[in-house]
């Protein structure tokens, strides 16, 4: 048994507090698996470009009580909100009709039985930090949306780390089961008010029912001394649609494993994302599209702007199974390096076992286009402002592709201000 992250005590402490035998077994099996897994090195393919050194040297503990946080990021808009501070649910607004939410920490005997069935279905697979999440899981938010429910307001899962979270590991699980023919927007945001070091370890599992339509945002807005290692697993049923938008600002270390499975035919996935590390930050997106059935379509577009000494990793895998005929899958990854020291490792991986499919991928790395820059200059715009506007434009192309909703309107100024070291340089983008 190895425990390089010094989390064994936290695991045992958690186990000792619980009288729920099934849950304890479920966590214990994950702990054994985690402890038996060799700690990733440069030779471990999935972690080749993302060293985990910064996870060592801290004895990660779990928080008992949520700290106090202002929670001002992404706060002021019309939505149904569930707020978690340090992994504990602190605010749970009135739910619209057709939506039910259950919390693992407060499950009744009857709910426990259902939780057991639901958790047993989950796909830890070989993702190291999904396994870690299972081993230390104290809270899960399980959202069920009844069939044929159309939600007007987005549901916002607002996860905040308080200053109390320093030195803590914060594993949280969010599960969404969207009933057939239902439509909704789920917004997940992650923000930190902690000085760190802090380790947030979220897992999101989504099941999009037959002919259901989900718009999804998964926004990692933490900055500073935060490690965010987590995963998103989604299952698409027949003729469902999922439009999932991802964003990662910096932070010491971010790694998101995204797996989307086409389990019912005729489903469509739009998976877009942007990552914007600067300073010495590190962001890593590993995405996998599993086309298991025929007639599925996927379109994936990720873009990154990497500045200063930052590093980014993008690994986009498309796996088309033998029976998944008539699949259309496209993947594009474009990167902009705004410094000579910035680094990107991008790798598309195609594995195709069906013969009647269309599959395309492309990855590029570039600097800001000189011809475009001159166009700005020739109109009197300063070089600094031109660079801000061009960087923003590169990312904004993906925002423009989103439906017109309140999240897009919140994201725009956030992104605009991000590229400008001085406020007035973003003035024309707000």
């Amino acid at each position: 048994m190895s425990d390089p992250m010094q989390a064994e005590q936290a695991h045992h402490g958690l186990q000792a507090q619980s009288d729920w035998g099934w849950l304890k077994d479920w966590r214990a099996s994950a702990w054994s698996q985690f402890a038996a897994t060799p700690w990733p090195t440069r030779k471990t393919e999935a972690w080749k470009y993302t060293p985990l050194k910064s996870m060592l040297g801290t004895e990660w503990s779990l928080s008992e009580q949520p700290g106090s946080a202002t929670g001002t990021v992404f706060a002021d808009w019309d939505r149904t909100v569930i707020t978690l501070v340090d992994g504990k649910v602190t605010d749970h607004g009135a739910l619209p009709e057709g939506v039910s939410v259950q919390l693992l920490s407060k499950a009744t005997a009857e709910q426990r039985a259902r939780f057991e069935q639901r958790l047993a279905k989950t796909l830890a697979g070989d993702q190291l930090f999904t396994t870690f999440n299972q081993a230390l899981l104290a809270e899960a938010v399980w959202i069920e949306v009844a069939p044929e429910t159309v939600l007007e307001k987005p549901l916002h899962i607002n996860q905040v780390l308080s200053p109390n979270a320093n030195g803590r590991a914060v594993p949280v699980r969010v599960m969404l089961d969207l009933g057939s023919r239902s439509q909704m927007t789920l917004v997940e945001t992650f923000a930190s008010e902690s000085d760190g070091p802090v380790f947030i370890n979220p897992v999101t599992e989504i099941d999009v029912g037959d002919s259901a339509k989900l718009t999804h945002y998964h926004l990692l807005l933490e900055t500073g001394d935060v490690r965010h290692l987590g995963s998103l697993q989604a299952v698409l049923r027949a003729h469902s649609q999922m439009n999932s938008f991802h964003m990662a600002l910096g932070g010491v270390l971010k790694r998101k494993d995204i797996v989307v499975r086409h389990c019912g035919s005729g489903a469509h996935l739009q998976l877009n994302g942007v990552y914007l590390p600067k300073g010495k930050e590190h962001v890593d997106y590993h995405t996998t599209l599993e086309h298991e059935v025929p007639h599925g379509t996927s379109n994936e577009v990720f873009r990154g702007i990497i500045g200063d000494d930052a590093k980014a990793v993008f690994n986009g895998r498309i796996h088309i199974h033998k029976d998944a005929q008539k699949t259309l899958a496209e993947l594009s990854n474009k990167n902009l390096l705004t410094s000579h020291r910035a680094e990107i490792n991008t790798k598309p991986e195609l594995e195709i076992y069906a013969d009647d499919v269309k599959c395309a991928h492309g990855a590029t790395v570039a600097q800001l286009d000189k011809g475009s820059l001159f166009y700005f200059l020739s109109r009197g715009i300063s070089r600094q402002e031109a660079e801000v506007m061009m960087s923003f434009g590169f990312i904004n192309e993906l925002l423009e592709a989103l439906d017109d909703d309140p999240v897009k309107r919140l994201l725009r100024p956030l992104l605009a201000s991000l590229f400008a070291k001085e406020d007035d340089l973003a003035g024309h983008l707000l």
């Binding site: 475009s372 700005f376 200059l377 109109r379 009197g380 506007m389 434009g393 192309e397 024309h428």
Partner: protein
Amino acid sequence: MLNINDLHARVEDTAILHGLNLEVKPGEVHAIMGPNGAGKSTLGNVLSGRPGYEVTGGTVTYKGQNLLELEAEERARAGIFLAFQYPVEIPGVSNMEFLKASVDAIRSARGEEAMSSMDFIKLAREKCKAVDLPADFLKRGVNEGFSGGEKKRNELLQMMLLEPSLCILDETDSGLDIDALQVVARGVNELRSPDRGIIVVTHYQRLLDYIVPDYVHVLAKGRIVKSGGRELALELEKHGYSWIDEEVA
């Protein structure tokens, strides 16, 4: 306003301009004509400060200052405007944002107050109408997916909003059908004024039916080899550029 004296310039390792002389006074419209490869586009690019165009000799004075010492953005702020032969597409940045940033930069350089967003939108819509461009083009990415004619009209829209002192139109007529050509010409004619100089660079005489120049210059092999009035353009139209070559030789 503009004085070009014995200008030599090269692009990378190729010398293109070999001693070009030209004087433009306020209120004048000069047409620069010439065969392909004569250096027509190089002239516009050198004047607007495009990187990669190196001046190897001669002087350019604009409103009494040494133009060649100014950065591209400083030239624009001093009132020089180049209408691009191939306008650049910038997806993700809306035309409106681009125009507002540009107008603000130039007004600020002139010591004028920034326009309010409301006033600007109103003005931009008005100018759109003048160049026959639907107002929803303001919301689209800069030149993104525009047709050739729409891009040229967008250049003209920028020119009208920026109100430059010296306009350089680099083959603005290329790729335009006759209707679009007339729209562009009407716009340029509207901008003619006693305190503004205009240089129209073109391969064909056609545009000059609509923008009647005060002077026509023939540019060949990097120099102005012949200057005259409007009739020179007609002569070129009739005889092509080969007789110039013979005359120069």
